[in-house]
Symmetry: C2
DNA sequence: TAATACGTACAGAAATAACCGTACGCATTA
DNA sequence: TAATGCGTACGGTTATTTCTGTACGTATTA
């Protein structure tokens, strides 16, 4: 095995691992391989270069890049005199990790929160309605209690994500260099 | 609309929201609906009851329950005199949230970590090999630097998850009751 | 203004996953 | 030991997602 082949093989091994685990971020393995390619690339790449490198269609590259852009894992860079769009990886891993929660988790929590608050309001109406049977009123009270516990939990999650967004979490779990 | 219908509708709204967002945990919407059903259920349910309630096959229930068990979102409970397996939701949301990272994220981090450490070892061999060209040696050094930065990041992630696993994170982001 | 080239919507094809019904291994009961 | 009934592995089917090639809107250049 020659030296360049060894280097390539070393990279492929890492890229495969990244591609396999990137589903934690809700991304496809293809997007993961693209991310790995950008991880190793020493310069920003165009869609055509990605297409060439990964042997996939330009459309797929366009889609994958956008999904990575949506999560702030990749950024569009502007280079003087270059007509094509260029993309490179976001170097700040921590920022990227925090953004993921700020983007994806926050939305999910907000949706659940909203549904539960609406639900509580409806149940309260039901309880206040004199026509409601005792049986149902009792169950509505139980449901409200459950939902309110859950809302407390979402509030906690939001506060955790706040600490990500403001990076205050780094006061608690600091970025410390391993070898000092 | 009668009272029982209103109650049901209130529940469905919440269950739909949960089912829609549970993909953050790598689960299918079906598993999410099952989770919602268990959320509202006041007693542990058997596979047959779930099947009946959701109008799905018993096989699907079996698979969904297991995926929820794997994430510690649901637990098997034993009831005297009952031959069937009974399942109920894990009430401790925080524990469940922490377990998710301890289970899923830890594995992913470990895999990536391992691939990168192996990769670094190979690259180091390549650098030490006198037959390696200068060009490749230079690139190998660049790659090693990138990988080591990444390993530092994974170390940070591991420390964050440690604080989840030990619940020390609650010292930083406390569970405080909203209305006091 | 005309020409060129870029990135993406769109629709069909390929791959993947979700689901169901059957059948089986295993445990509990009689 | 025989009989009953549980949960799950397996294979086929359906549904969903992923990918590709074409075609188009838009922006830049001449």
């Amino acid at each position: 095995m020659n030296d360049i082949e060894t280097l390539e093989r070393s990279r492929t091994m890492v890229i495969d691992a990244i591609a396999q685990n990137i589903d934690l971020y809700g991304l496809t393995p293809s997007a993961g391989r693209l991310y790995g390619l950008l991880f190793y690339s020493n310069k920003p790449l165009t869609l055509d270069e990605m297409k060439e490198e990964l042997g996939m269609s330009k459309t797929s590259m366009s889609v994958s890049v956008r999904s990575l852009l949506d999560l702030n894992m990749v950024e569009k860079v502007w280079v003087k005199g270059e007509r094509k769009d260029l993309y490179s990886i976001k170097e700040d891993w921590y920022e990227c990790f925090f953004d993921f929660f700020t983007i994806k988790w926050r939305i999910a929590i907000t949706m659940n929160n909203s549904a539960m608050e609406k639900s509580i309001a409806k149940l309260q109406q039901l309880i206040d309605d004199p026509q409601t049977s005792d049986k149902i009123r009792e169950q509505a009270l139980i449901d409200i209690k459950k939902l309110e516990e859950r809302l407390e939990y979402y509030d906690w999650q939001n506060r955790l994500i706040d600490s990500f967004e403001t990076k205050e979490i780094l006061n608690f779990i600091p970025i410390e260099k391993k070898k000092d």
